[in-house]
């Protein structure tokens, strides 16, 4: 042990598997949240439990949650401020290169895999102390209250290499289910991968880069919105009236009909 680290991170990983999440198309439907809940309740480790599921204060373990934020763009110049926007923000473990949740783990239960960079919890070694959840700046870990172990996104490590699944299904459950196609999975360590290309093309961003965690997951920012009136100078000629008077309109109509296939001109 050196530098106060309790569990070591690999110096580097062979691949950097992760998610690219498109905030421009995420409609906030929570399909990914529940698909994740379903798969990970039935699969890796302990089921994701729920407390008081039909009661006054239901709560449960989720490895992926969607938060919604209202955004108010600033006014520019003399123009009034554009309309407020609503951004849906799915969040799960970002499988950071410098994952503080791993280095803080007192038992070695939390670790980052050398082969693909996935951060996992070995539940048999987890004592449920919660240090990792405290150290994660993203709030991406949840202690399962029924099992007393820390749960987190596994990037569906039990799907992505699973020989029992058709090859097309060897992707995380959240990616497979996303109706809007807003979630992408791949090797972000390979600049030629589809996900890396997408990040490059769309200006993909790190979440809270100032925390120095070097998250692998990336977010694609929403496209600019509410710009249609900006184009009116270009578009205005399209709306030039064909005639100022109704009789003129019918004159235009006659000429236009003549120009149709089979017409008189």
């Amino acid at each position: 042990m050196e530098g106060g680290q309790m569990t070591e991170l690999p110096a580097q990983t062979d691949r950097k598997m992760g998610l690219v999440i498109d905030l421009d198309t995420c409609v906030g439907c929570h399909a990914c949240v529940i698909s994740c809940k379903g798969w990970n309740t039935e699969n890796y480790g302990a089921p994701l439990s729920d407390q008081d599921p039909y009661g006054a204060d239901p709560s449960g373990t989720f490895l992926n949650r969607v938060h919604s934020y209202e955004v108010q763009p600033q006014a520019t110049g003399a123009q009034p401020a554009p309309a407020a926007q609503l951004v849906h923000f799915p969040k799960s473990c970002l499988h950071c290169e410098d994952a503080p949740c791993v280095t803080v783990c007192p038992t070695g239960a939390s670790y980052k895999r050398v082969e693909d960079g996935i951060v996992l919890v070995n539940e048999s070694d987890c004592i449920g102390c919660g240090l990792c959840a405290w150290s994660c700046p993203y709030g991406a870990r949840e202690l399962d209250l029924a099992e007393g172990v820390m749960k987190k996104c596994t990037l569906c490590v039990d799907r992505i290499y699973n020989d029992n699944l058709p090859e097309v299904d060897r992707i995380p459950a959240c990616v497979r289910t996303c109706p809007a196609g807003a979630r992408h999975f791949g090797d972000l360590g390979d600049p030629d991968s589809d996900v890396s290309q997408l990040v490059a093309a769309r200006g993909g961003m790190d979440l809270m880069p100032e925390m120095g965690t070097k998250p692998v997951n990336k977010y694609l920012p929403p496209r600019p919105k509410d710009r249609i009136e900006d184009q009116i100078d270009v578009l205005a000629p399209l709306l030039a009236p064909v005639a100022e008077e109704p009789t003129g309109f019918l004159g235009w109509l006659d000429k236009a009909l003549d120009k149709l296939p089979g017409g008189n001109s």
Partner: protein, 944 residues
Amino acid sequence: MTVQQPRVNTSPDVSEEVRQTTCYMCACRCGINVHMKTGSDGRKQVAYIEGNRDHPVNKGVLCAKGSAGIMQHNAPSRLRAPLRRVGPRGSGQFQEITWDEALDLAVSWLEPLRKTAPEKLAFFTGRDQSQSFTSFWAQNFGTPNYAAHGGFCSVNMATAGIYTMGGAFWEFGQPDWDHTKLFLLFGVAEDHDSNPIKMGIGRIKARGARVIGVNPIRTGYNAVADDWVGITPGTDGLFILSLVHVLLKAGKIDLDYLSRYTNAPVLVNASEGPEQGLFLRDEAGKELVIDRKTGKPAPFDQPGVRPDLHATYRHAGVTHRPVFHLMAERYLSDDYAPETVADHCGIPASRIRAIAAEIARVAFDEAFEIQQEWTDFRGETHQTMVGRPVSFHSMRGVSAHANGFQTCRALHVLQILLGTVEVPGGFRFKPPYPKPATAHPKPHCGVKPDCALDGPHLGFVHGPDDLALKEDGSPARIDKAFTWENPMSAHGLMHMVISNAHAGDPYKIDTLFMYMANMSWNSSMNTRGVIEMLTDTDADGEYVIPRIIYSDAYSSEMVAYADLILPDTTYLERHDCISLLDRPICEADAAADAIRWPVVEPDRDVRGFQTALVQLANRLKLPGFTAEDGSAKYQDYADYIVNHERKPGIGPLSGWRGDGSESGRGAANPAQLDRYIENGGFHVSHIPDAALYYKPWNRAYQDWAVGMGLYDKPEPYLFQLYVEPLRRFQLAAEGYGERQPPDHLRARITATMDPLPIWYESDQQGNAGFTVNALTQRPMAMYHSWGSQNAWLRQLHGRNPLYVPTKLMRENGLSDGDWARVSSPHGEITVPVMEMAALNENTVWTWNAIGKRKGAWALDENAPEATKGFLLNHLIHELLPPKGDGLRWANSDPITGQAAWFDLKVKIEKAAPPDGMSESQPAFAPITSPVGTGPKDLKWKVGK
């Protein structure tokens, strides 16, 4: 130190078996893979549910609700056995009985009605998906009183679409996702059309297409729209007609399309008298147009005809003008100029112009061609298919207003003027649509004791002669559908049934029989009033509505108000068919249908409702269910699905008919369900390439549709910019014809049933001082409320504050978590508020049906849904405020009868500090739960 990694099994067994069926938690009807594992009891159990990649609807994806199906299937609110009420109505006190006892009891009530007065049974099914079957049952029982839930949902959209162009949105058609470049959504709540819309928006945004959302609330699809138009509720029609005005004035319309495929050139009688406004027809009844080649009238479908949009025709002293003439006259008026409508719609004129310009640019400057030859109904062959890549989608938001029918008409007309319907890049029909109003049945109401009804209940009227009136002119149906009050009520008026039955207006009934319709809670306007009607007694102490039978799978609020409960199964325990005779699941490229089958057997004494109906029919010996020798034709619903023939060779399912090689038409095939199961639960018949577009006029499509059994013969038709049946009602209101409306309705019929789209403000009488619009929608993760309050989903949406725009928060001194008193002319509620900026500044809204009654749905009485949750329904009445004329005026569209949920206007005030008030008001007393409450903990893992 070397990193020691634990070994992880990255290839665990996923499941022992995958059973493929159809989801049923909303109207989307996605294909699902149900992964089965052997549970601790040694039986195969549901372990995991995911989307079916091969399915035409969802292509593998699945929404939150679909993925949470496992919690729906194991919900503690599932009913367990038939129940007979033993306490007073509303108490929730029941006794479990056997199915034999339940069916005998139902028969003892129903048989005497059938023998003497079948109309005394009112049978209404809620969010059901087997309407071709339930209507068949009701028809054979002989009652005219049958409908499903369309009347309180989106009948305006459906009916306006069918009268205008032979179909509407959603199950009727879809945008051409492959080619569209500009997509406009009008009034689409975030739950509607669930996965296909999300998939489509994702696809078109990925290639840079623009999405414009028109909605007072910027959530869901509107949150990802490139441009948001936060319109004032109820003014969509005015906005749309302003777009029409600008586009027409600029000549940005598709004249070729209009002249060939619409009734724009059809001649309309312009002279006063009984024919004014009706089409000029030849002796065969064909609409006439002026042929530009000859200048003379010719039938619209004559080979080689070049219909004129301009020329008028004078004959026998009567002038006839083409429809397009009338349209130009109306919509070129400055009444529809952006500057005129801007304030009313809450949209700056510059924005209306910019949107119109963008529509024009994409429709005409980005037009393209697909190299595909096709032949139209006049016999003309076209070398290519011309694409106009602008598409629209719309649902309840524009529909659930008292001006909704005409607003929906306006939207359909806008698409047609642009020439974007049934062309590449535009809006495309899905089989069995397109199907014009004339190809649908008319409503039937001929009742005779001990006989079947004289035809299907629901249909499309073409004039006063088709109304469902008795000889004395009074309504034949309990919901007053197809009467002068709402002549085109093609889906019935479910929201008026209890109110009318209680009032004995137009007559009294004996038994109310309902399915999946939570009428004592969120499915009714005026919830408390409906509860009182359901429990009201007469002078003899008898219930005013004497008997109520109800079927539901879950312990909904309505259960407590029935006398007999027939417990339904969950969606994984039942047979169903998603039929081409019903609400199809087709794609624009293919006809498709699907089944559900019991992937698990029920562990309770419950039966699929449709099977219970078959068993009731057999005990009643209903004609359609009884063979000539008196034996039962069908043992259960599965038997019906396979063996029923609606017409010779046409049954509920189109796939694997006859010897298994036939699609569409063919004899019943006893192995049909097995073939569906082998194929993943669905069947697809692809449309030939030459038939993919221009379906209403495309010979190849028409021939294919006849072969599939969708049509009896080719039925090409013109899009109806001008809807002549509307004009026939106006003529009656003007005093022409034998069948005359009551005098008090003449002015309204004349004003609203305009054959060209209009916009009018809904009736504001009684709304003085109530100036804020109030809306609801369901969350995306919980599309439809019929399937219980799911343990996983309620952690996402277990609370429903009233969302209030920033301006109204400030004006009323409100902060998040404060309480507000919200009142309407009808009632008052006190509810928690939350600020929302991305919202029309004069509109409040909340999630619908998150509020639950204590004792329902197996929830704890302290669940937030039962304490803080609330319904806006308490503020909405099924009748408009009294006008002092002694008459009952329904809070409905005057043309279709659609419930005008979104016409609600309220006043909002900060409520006194919540001293001891921890619950939303009104708070209702708990009902006794027939199923108890759910478990304290959940750790749902089937496998080891």
